[in-house]
């Protein structure tokens, strides 16, 4: 199916495979961050393509907040078994038990910020010098300035004003001891590109991306799932709705959309028509205008 005119999806795929191979070649101990969400599933699919017929030459790393959707965890284990991949799991609960962080309290309590500490601990524990992530530049304005190869200092911090210039496709992953890199193979993908690719490549995804019945409640215009650790305000009442996830994060901050989309085709059609950004339903971004930049500076995903 070779034509001299590459489609945009072919170009994005070729670029992402190139970036993943570059990370595997330039770093001694790379890892790939895996959340069970569609972006990390696509990234892992590309990694399998990049090294076939050899196995993916690095482990995946999942930071389990303890607030994940059960379907996501089941899917993670299923996918690893099916593809023969290795996924290391580290738990935010352990970080809390060690007294390194304190659980947030109140209605909007979330472990979203806490997981950065667990992540940096895991990077130190395994001496990872590169962590690939499924972050995309179109997701959020601070991410729009992110490099493919993004430097982190010995404290795991990002300095957005002092980023290395990145030209052509020559990536500079040189670093000092203790520093590491975040690498983003999907930088140039949009939400629609990810879904089109899932469709074309017939990639399996967790069931919660498709329409299903769930008990939800409405907070500030966002539908959130009920769970034992979710505190409802007196004015909030659980109802049953047909919903699906547009992004998958913690239950505490993942807004669900009312949807009847039951196939990837339906989802593509829905995404193409939607007028709200993907992260518009993410409670973690609503904390302030620079919520993402602040978290990224601290070493967030």
């Amino acid at each position: 199916m070779i034509s001299y005119k590459n489609t945009h999806l072919q170009e994005l795929e070729n670029e992402a495979i190139y970036v993943i191979r570059e990370a595997a070649a330039q770093f001694e101990r790379p890892t790939m961050l895996f959340s069970g969400g569609k972006d990390s599933i696509v990234m892992y699919h590309l990694a399998r393509k990049a090294f076939y017929p050899a196995k993916v030459p690095f482990p995946l790393l999942h930071i389990d907040t303890g607030h994940n959707f059960q379907e996501t965890l089941e899917f993670r284990d299923y996918l690893m078994k099916k593809t023969g991949g290795t996924c290391i799991v580290r738990y935010v609960q352990d970080t809390i038990n060690q007294g390194k962080v304190q659980e947030e309290t109140g209605y909007n309590a979330s472990r979203n910020v806490l997981q950065t500490v667990t992540l940096l601990d895991a990077i130190e524990e395994f001496k990872f010098d590169c962590a690939m992530g499924g972050g995309r530049r179109d997701e959020e304005k601070a991410r729009a300035k992110e490099r493919f190869f993004s430097h982190r200092d010995e404290f795991g911090q990002w300095d957005p004003k002092n980023q290395r210039p990145e030209l052509w496709n020559i990536f500079n992953g040189r670093k000092k001891m203790g520093e590491h890199f975040r690498v983003f193979p999907l930088s140039n993908w949009t939400e629609l590109d990810v879904w089109l690719y899932i469709l074309l490549e017939k990639i399996e995804i967790p069931s919660i991306y498709f329409s299903h019945e769930r008990e939800v409640f409405n907070r500030d215009g966002v539908w959130l799932a009920t769970a034992p650790f979710m505190k409802l305000k007196p004015t909030e009442h659980p109802v049953i709705k047909r919903v699906r996830c547009r992004t998958i994060g913690d239950i505490t901050c993942t807004g669900l959309v009312l949807s009847e989309a039951s196939s990837v085709e339906d989802i593509v059609a829905e995404i193409a028509q939607t007028r709200i950004t993907e992260r518009g339903g993410r409670y973690d971004d609503k904390r302030s205008d620079t919520a993402m930049e602040d978290r990224k500076r601290e070493g967030y995903f």
Partner: protein
């Protein structure tokens, strides 16, 4: 002319999805300062192609109101970092995405001031097209000249010059022609292959997506039409077969016991099954027996494709080597002349040692001499002042520790480009375009 930029999904979902999967990708760069309407133009392109979402627009309205702006400040959309929003300037390269039914676009949006020359160079390095804005009232200014120069230095194949704010010069055809003429005079001194001119008014949307009713004298295409249709397939070098080896795949499994694949992205040209090849620097020759993409074997790999190549002979090949065809070799040399842009606060050191990265190869190098610097105000060469600091552009000669295999940047953007890295700080301190 295309005015229907958003596909109506209800008509035929399968057909629509089919067309989405056939879109081409166009990367373009813009450069400009706060007041020349660049943000307005980008905002207009994003808005008209429905790439700005309702929640973004609401956030923008709120932010503009709080800052006391009378209209929605589209610059707030493009300036992503806290420091940028505070200072009201764009510091870094920001990437924006939108699509129409024909193409997906990536905008590398860069600041236009002289102190951000390095950001402009960065944004230009991957662009197929440069979008240059000229304020119709001011005509060609120093900044216009600089942008055109950088686009030519980085060999961006296409240039679209938008003469903006035509409403402020009464939509005058004479003024448009005058500026076009001035620009063409500059262009004769530069290396630009394809230039187009469009009179626009970004604020009101004239000739952006819809044809202007104010300028019936202009018979050319709208800006969006140009972006959607400029022919880019021929910009790729399909002649000189170059394959920098990125990674060696050895499965060590029972099923693929003897498999040894050379993984990489074809930098240029075409490789076919059965091709006689030569490996640099060793000089060994062999034949391609298999080209793989995941579980599929293909007959040919063309420029841009990430593949894995299997050879007939068991020869020693590692990352940084280059697979080429016997009858078409790159230049193999330790002495390299290149145009450069300096990125770092620490000035260039003549006779200083640096790390040079070229394709997947890395060698040490020494800067032998600075031939000249370009005075960015006049674009004249300065052969006497050898002090090179941040944002300076010029020509230098470099000696590498081992030979590298390259083509001229003009002929081959992928095998003609290098970056220099500081050995101590590991920072990327310069970009080089081989002459």
């Amino acid at each position: 002319m295309s005015t229907n930029l958003v596909i109506d999904m209800k008509t035929n979902i399968n057909e629509t999805i089919g067309s989405y999967t056939q879109m081409e990708l166009l990367r373009f760069t813009t450069a400009g300062s706060v007041d020349d309407g660049k943000s307005t133009l980008i905002g207009r392109l994003l808005y008209d192609s429905k790439a700005i979402f309702e929640d973004q627009l609401k956030a923008l309205e709120k932010a503009s109101m709080l800052k006391g702006d009378e209209t929605i400040n589209l610059a707030l959309l493009t300036d992503g970092l806290k420091a940028e929003r505070e200072q009201g300037i764009t510091i870094d390269v920001a990437y924006r995405y939108f699509h129409t039914p024909r193409r997906k676009f990536i905008i590398a949006d860069t600041p236009g001031h002289i102190q951000y020359t390095r950001n402009m160079v960065t944004g230009a390095s991957t662009a197929n097209l440069a979008l240059i804005l000229v304020d119709a009232r001011h005509g060609i200014v120093e900044q216009t000249r600089r942008h055109a120069f950088i686009a030519s230095l980085l060999q961006i194949p296409h240039m679209v010059v938008c003469i903006n704010k035509m409403d402020l010069v009464s939509y005058s055809e004479e003024r448009f022609n005058e500026i076009t003429q001035q620009f063409l005079e500059i262009a004769t001194k530069l290396d630009i292959k394809d230039i187009r001119f469009v009179p626009i008014c970004a604020l009101h949307g004239d000739n952006i997506v819809k044809r202007s009713t104010q300028m019936p004298w202009y018979e050319g295409p709208t800006l969006m039409w140009l972006l959607e249709t400029i022919y880019i397939s021929s910009d790729t070098n399909f002649i000189d077969a170059r394959f920098p080896v990125q990674y060696v795949i050895r499965p060590n499994s029972k099923e693929f016991h003897d498999y040894r694949g050379y993984a990489g992205r074809v930098a240029s040209g075409i490789f076919r099954k059965g091709d006689k090849i030569k490996v640099l620097p060793s000089g060994y020759t062999s034949t391609i027996v298999q080209i793989d993409i995941f579980e599929n074997s293909i007959n040919e790999a063309v420029a841009g494709q990430s593949v894995s190549i299997v050879l007939a002979d068991d020869i020693d090949i590692s990352r940084g080597d280059m697979i080429v065809k016997e009858n078409n070799l790159p230049v193999i040399s330790q002495d390299v002349e290149m145009m450069f842009c300096w990125f770092n606060e620490r000035p260039l050191q003549i006779k200083g040692k640096y790390i040079l990265r070229h394709t997947t190869n890395e060698v040490k190098c020494m800067i032998n001499d600075v031939r000249y610097k370009i005075e960015m105000n006049t674009l004249q060469r300065n052969e006497t002042d050898k002090h090179v600091g941040m944002n300076d552009i010029g020509r230098m000669s470099v000696r590498t520790q081992k030979p590298i295999f390259f083509d001229s940047y003009r002929k081959n953007r992928n095998t003609g480009s290098v970056i220099l890295i500081d050995e101590i700080t590991n920072e990327t301190i310069a970009a080089g375009m081989i002459i």
